[in-house]
């Protein structure tokens, strides 16, 4: 039997609560052990405008929101008008029959008007009725939903629970009586999954890394990390602080990191810009600190609620001068979780800042996760530390914080450790931490120190998995992406395969250090390289060329604030293979 692949889109004005039915459905799906991937195309606006949430589910892992909807739930007329024409025969449109009029639906699209005012006494319960109706149409029993409502309203007393359950049943029954269910039923795999947003994964990744100090200044689309951290601070023993600005954020994190805490912060591009000076300072003082930049559409304030991969050059050029830094772009929501402990281990080991380059697609999207994969005690490498509680403290005789070593790394004594007092400085300094800038400048020393610091990255590279090509070795076309586009490109590759176009796929996660040779080898035999990225100028393509000399044959780019859908990539590849273009920019179907 074919695998289930079911997508539902819920749209309305901001403030209409698109998220509520979305969250309910997501939970119901994952509790059945179904995978999901969801994306909420929302806006800064508090009320009005147009937001649209897509949830896609199936037995197999779902890597992106996909191209098509099996079900549309327009909460207002505007959503109906924008989207109904895109619904294919066999799909269904579920709406408040008393409020929204369907017009322009294709033949074979089932129109399902729910008489919400009849089914529920209060508009507060409309979502409940609608969700129940969805369940009926996808052949899922109502009981799990009733249980969920019971959990949710437990604290409000039996009457409230009963009322909600009654509305659910009414919606369920009405749908059974009046609408035609889909020809398939959503299965229950028997292995319940978890669901989380990318922001939650980043926060939980911090927990898994052992973060003890988190500070931030709110900035969409990274604020979710702060809010998760704040909610769990006391339970998990994490110091969480919102402070005056992003400059304070990064500097406080550096201060806490210097005392020995694993310290983390998150922001978006504008806040990151303000942190760049301090990241260089962390590198100079050799203090490991992790900073997450959740990219949104720029430049400047830009489009705060829209996605983009537009900050690669910003992080590559963050701060003056050359200094060692780690930069990783997680390739999925789940990878947001795993990337944090990974980068902390490297940052601790090489005593330098780590930058995580996520984006709104990941941070505000949500995905199913296998709970078994959420390892909250992954391997932790603190690097060479002196004075960490419990560890034996040497005498300190002759201790040099910045000793010249082959690896470039020297042991880091934590403040408070007897016998190891030293100064860490943002001015250039010698082995003991004494300034050479003010005291006495010596070009030979300076040269050796620069080389030592930079040398650290040589040690980091072998600890990072090299990117590998997925798919057929003899593909006609190799799609290259970085960071969050992994899922959509992977799906595009499958779609192309179905169209008879053999494609394979290289996704790069670690920007610095970059596996130059591995990438060169991986792409050496590629017949046509097409780089896919969510920005205007081809930031990754240009960076890849700068480091590896690889010149792509063509590019697929998007910079309209919305993420790629698989068919954008497919169409781009088709155009490229047909020789029609070397740069394809898809036109986004208005969903928002």
């Amino acid at each position: 039997m074919a695998q289930t692949d079911f997508s539902v889109g819920i749209g309305g004005a901001a403030g209409q609560g698109v998220a509520t039915p979305g969250t309910l459905l997501a939970k119901l799906f994952v509790r059945r052990g179904l995978h999901i991937n969801a994306y909420n195309a929302y806006q800064s606006i508090i009320r009005g405008g147009h937001t649209f949430l897509t949830i896609r589910t199936g037995e197999a892992p779902v890597r992106c929101m996909g191209d098509e909807l099996e079900m549309l739930i327009p909460l207002n007329q505007d959503t109906m008008d924008r989207h109904v024409r895109r619904m294919r025969p066999g799909s269904a449109v579920l709406f408040d029959g008393g409020k929204v009029k369907p017009e322009g639906a294709a033949d074979g699209v089932q129109l399902c008007p729910l008489p919400l005012a009849q089914l529920a006494k209060s508009p507060l319960h409309y979502n409940t009725a609608a969700v129940a109706a969805v369940l009926r149409l996808v052949g899922v029993e109502c009981r799990p939903f009733e249980e969920m409502l019971a959990e949710q309203f437990e604290r409000k007393g039996d009457a409230v629970v009963a009322e909600n359950v009654a509305v659910a049943r009414a919606g369920y029954e009405y749908a059974g009586a009046h609408f035609r269910p889909y020809p398939f039923a959503l299965p229950d795999t028997g292995k319940p999954l978890a669901v989380a947003t990318g922001n939650e994964c980043l926060a939980m990744g911090g927990v898994a890394a052992g973060v003890k100090f988190y500070c931030a200044y709110p900035m969409s689309p990274s604020t979710g990390v702060l809010m998760w951290m704040a909610r769990h601070a006391r339970q998990l023993g994490i110091m969480v602080r919102q402070v005056e600005d992003e400059i304070a954020v990064i500097n406080m994190a550096i201060g806490a990191a210097h005392t020995g805490c694993r310290a983390m912060c998150a922001t978006s591009g504008g806040g990151f810009a303000l942190m760049t000076e301090a990241l260089g300072a962390a590198a100079m003082m050799e203090i490991p600190v992790v900073c997450i930049n959740v990219q949104r559409a720029g430049p400047a304030t830009g489009v705060p609620t829209k996605t983009e991969q537009g900050d690669l050059w910003q992080v590559l050029g963050a701060g003056q001068g050359d200094y060692p830094r780690l930069i990783a772009a997680p390739i999925s929501i789940a990878d947001c979780f795993h990337t944090i402990p990974q980068i902390f281990n490297l940052a601790d080991r090489f005593q330098c800042p780590g930058i995580v380059l996520a984006d709104l697609l990941e941070s505000e999207g949500f995905s199913s996760l296998d709970p078994a994969e959420l390892d909250f005690n992954p391997p932790r490498d603190r690097g060479e530390l002196i004075g960490l509680d419990g560890s034996p403290v040497p005498s300190g005789e002759g201790y040099e914080r910045y000793r010249q070593t082959e690896s470039g790394v020297a042991p880091r004594a934590l403040p408070g450790t007897p016998g190891h007092a030293h100064v860490v400085a943002t001015d250039e300094h010698d082995e003991r931490g004494v300034l050479i800038s003010d005291e006495f400048t010596d070009p030979h020393k300076r040269q050796a120190i620069m080389e030592r610091r930079q040398r650290k990255m040589d040690g980091a590279l072998p600890l990072i998995d090299p990117p590998r090509v997925a798919g057929a070795a003899d593909a006609e076309v190799t799609l290259v992406g970085w960071g969050s586009t992994w899922g959509v490109i992977a799906e595009a590759v499958e779609k192309l395969e179905r169209e008879g176009i053999r494609a394979n796929h290289l996704q790069v996660k670690w920007m610095v250090p970059l596996h130059v040779e591995a990438i060169q080898q991986a792409l050496a035999k590629a017949r046509k390289i097409v780089i896919v990225e969510n920005n205007y100028s081809g930031q990754f393509a240009r960076y890849l060329r700068s480091e590896t000399g690889l010149v792509a044959d063509a590019h697929i780019r998007k910079y309209d604030g919305e993420p790629f859908l698989p068919h954008h990539v497919v169409e781009g590849v088709r155009k490229v293979l047909a020789g029609k273009t070397k740069k394809y920019v898809p036109v986004h179907e208005i969903r928002v």
């Binding site: 003890k212 304070a248 210097h258 805490c261 000076e277 190891h420």
Partner: protein, 309 residues
Amino acid sequence: MAGPGVTETRTALVKKPRRAPLPVKEFKGKAEPDWCPGCGDFGVLNALKSAVAELGLRPHEVLTISGIGCSSNLPGYINTYGMHTLHGRALAVASGAQLGNHGLKVVVTGGDGDGFGIGGNHFVHAMRRNLDLTYIVMDNQIYGLTTGQVSPTSRKGMKTKSTPHGSVENPVNAIPLAIVCGATYVARGFSGQQKHLIELIKGAIEHKGFAFVDVFSPCVTYNKENTHEFFKQRTKKLEEMGHDPADFHAAIEKGGLWGDVIPIGLFYRNAEAPALDELEPVLAEGGPLAHRPLDVSDENARAVIAELM
């Protein structure tokens, strides 16, 4: 907790027996100060070293944090842990460090430009949070390291390399500012009054909460107006003026005086206000964050995952 820093509750702190003083030379730093001969900063360095020595603090218990400036070179000249951070960022770094290990004595040192110019926002916010920091500003009313430009504390009319015809701006008035922002120990010293300054700094370090000590520390090279002599003639001790440091409004008034008499001493103290680390439940037990184990208990892991299902 066997860690290098120990959580101390307010009571413990107050009850803590006085430690035997250490010889000042224990605090001699790795480098010799490169300040100009006669620079006021020598006096501040000496006073700070004396203060920590007299309090019996050991070098590894103190973390001295500065920004960038002549004055900010101080951490290199004192044998404690030190961070010589970016221009203007000392208080932010120190805030993180103090919360990261609240068993350390964190002393922040720097210049007027560093603290009130580029660092102004951290100054305002660190004070309202009443972080347990000692903040010593070597206030020379000039940008020394960059060779003599106007500073936020340069007086109106002062000629500097960036105001060759005289500054037309009103200076920041740091003492009243600190008081209204919520600092709980607000003092002013003069590097030419060593004993007095040592006492002010000792009081600041012993104070639980944000202690601000603005120190007149003349730049002999670039400030020809606010010289040692200038301050010697004008500074007058508040203790001799019958000032009550509990009187908020009198403190603001005295802090605003600048003329033939410029008061030095303790303007304001509020010993009751809890410091941020005392208010933060996460620090209530378990010792300094920096030394807590990173492991996540199974219970916590399960609870977090349960929320997602």
